[in-house]
């Protein structure tokens, strides 16, 4: 009897948890290629910074990958795999030029880490090879996703509640929509350039 009660209780707790961890899914249209969708900051709520580093490589005169979404507080390792010197810098974060930074230059095989403590869009550049570019989208919450080729996305484990969700795409205007998450929630975005 005790055993049945324990199983029942566990199931109820699990169901309760699932019910509070919703999913935002949808599609970003109007643009092609990868977009990033993220939940804007939740007032009064903070999230622990991830400990895992993300790597952006410089290979064949390109940043690889071209677009990376990370949670605020994430450290990104910038690796140079080319046999030419590269540089990494950004002019601003979401237009705030005070947050611009130049990481300098380093040769093949070496990397430099930078912790992105400020949310926003970071347009990476190399001052040696002006054609090189990449984007780091620093999400203020751990709730973000990159779209697939068709523009579809899915953000999991979002607690039920009301949020502002923003869709970003390279070269398009950001679009933010209010989304009320209750379980499996749909949110579509149409971006314009």
């Amino acid at each position: 009897m005790k055993r049945i009660a324990l199983v029942t209780l566990t199931a109820m707790v699990a169901l309760t948890t699932v019910a509070h961890a919703g999913t935002i899914h949808g599609k970003v249209s109007g643009v092609s290629g990868v977009s990033v969708v993220y939940v804007e900051a939740v007032p009064g709520k903070t999230f622990p910074a991830p400990t895992q580093h993300i790597t952006i490589d410089q290979k064949g005169l390109m940043f690889v990958p071209h677009i990376v979404a990370v949670e605020q507080g994430t450290s990104v390792d910038f690796l140079n795999s080319d046999s030419v010197a590269h540089n990494v810098f950004w002019i601003s974060i979401s237009g705030n030029k005070k947050l611009g930074h130049n990481l300098g230059t380093w040769p093949k095989g070496q990397k430099q880490a930078f912790k992105f403590d400020n949310p926003g869009v970071v347009a990476l550049l190399c001052n040696v090879h002006p054609e090189m570019s990449a984007y780091v989208i620093v999400s203020p919450t751990p709730y973000f996703a990159e779209t697939d080729k068709s523009g579809g996305f899915k953000i999991e484990n979002v607690p039920d509640g009301a949020y502002t969700v923003t869709a970003w795409h390279e070269g398009a205007k950001n679009k933010s929509n209010p989304v009320k998450v209750a379980g499996d929630t749909s949110a579509d975005f149409t971006l314009t350039k």
Binding site: K59, N102, G104, T105, P107, C126, V128
Partner: protein
Amino acid sequence: MSKRRHISNKGIVSLVVATFVLLLFPTSGYAIPAFSRQYGTSCTTCHLDFPKLNDFGKAFKDAGFKFPKDDESFLKVPPIMLGAPAQAELWPHTVFPGTIPGLPPIGLRYNTFYQQVNSNRDNFNRVLPLDSVGNFIPKSDFQPGLFSIFTAGNFGSGISFWVDDDISVAGANSNGGLGDGYLKFNDIGRLLRMPMLKLPENLLNLRVGRFELDLPVSQARTWNLSGWDILSQANIGVQNGVSPLENVNNTFTMAQAAHGLELSGGHATQGYHYSITALNQNTSGATSGSPLGVGPQNAVSFASDSNFKDLYGRFVYRWNLEHDLASRDGVQAAGTTGPHDHTYLALGTLYFYGRSVQRISGVLPDGVTPAVLTAREPFYRVGGDFNFNYRTFNLFGLYLAGHDHNLVPVTTEGETAPSSFISSRAATFSGGLLEADYLALPWMMAIMRWDQVKSTADRVKFIEYDPAAPPGSAFFSPSSATRNRFTPGVQFLIHANIKASFEYQMRPKQIVYDPATGLALTKPFRTNAAITGLEWIY
């Protein structure tokens, strides 16, 4: 009126045309869009202000138009294999495998100009009779420029190539269209590399075809609107009664394309660099026909006018002055904000030896039998140069002296024509260039140049040498032995492949004389010109 005082309309027209060709059709320069396409990178990876190379561009060129290391990892368009690499093991029983670029390595370039000449431009019309129509130069003028096609790349096995051609058929160093066209075997010293010898990399390269000599600065690929005067200086002797006769008519200039082969080694970005070139002798500027069908099949002429091959040698040593050893030895110096050109000092020297051929109608020693007399006049050009760079400031200069042995035809008593030559005073010139380039912004370069040429011919024209004899030429001929030209300029990169250039040429001083009286009609003046150019490559 003496003959030498007579200024013919035909002569003036020739001078005007020649001068305008020099002024309005600036020397050709190239950046390589084909490389941008193949590597998916910007022009500015290799160029500061195209076609001026940065250190990486120099290393790219040194390596045979390849990235100095791991070239294949940068290619966005893989080369086409002309044989599997494993075929190399079968050689000599198979054709050695090579590659061709995956994209046709073609680039195109066009430029257009506008010039404004100051009010002194028509001063020479004063010497004409009042009812004569002179050669009026417009105050302003729009001019088309070059339309060039150029290809370059490598064929694998360290073999690189370059061909450029001016489709519009104009421009210095184009010689009727073709600019350079050569094949270069890079680092053939590696074939001699044995463990016990430990030969360094890039010890020996071989270049064959038609190419600009290994000059301190490239006239064919200059970034200025006008070329450097000293590199375009021929040595034409004086043939009038003012000075001893100079039977020198050497049309050779350092800037003209050479036909021959070049051995070279070292690097342009660090340490030593040398080159030794054997090239066709052609000092008359003429080519010979091939009526007997001699020579390569379908050849219609010979580029040489002599059996002798001229020789050219250059040696330069460059010290990179970075404190940090790794930075000093790198292709580019590494700074806190990004790679940049090294701070460096390079010192170099050059020497050219040739024999100028003068052929005239004469007689044999019997004084009667007609014969062609040939004077082979040794000549040399010798010079020294420096190049100093501090970040975005570049100062460089060249001093060059020319000396042509002068063999004067002699007609002795009783002879109807010359039968021999005697040595006389040499025809010489000297001069140089000094230029400062400052890259104020990545897209804006300020330039200040000084060109100087001092030649025998100019000295004879100099009024003080023979006050009674006014200069025999008009437009743009100097009024003194020395031609000085100051040329400030500025260039803007609108995009990495589009450039707007401006330069103001403060040309040498001139004086207009009355051809009848020899009296000066004007005070010394300069026919200055402002030139604006637009060019784009794609």
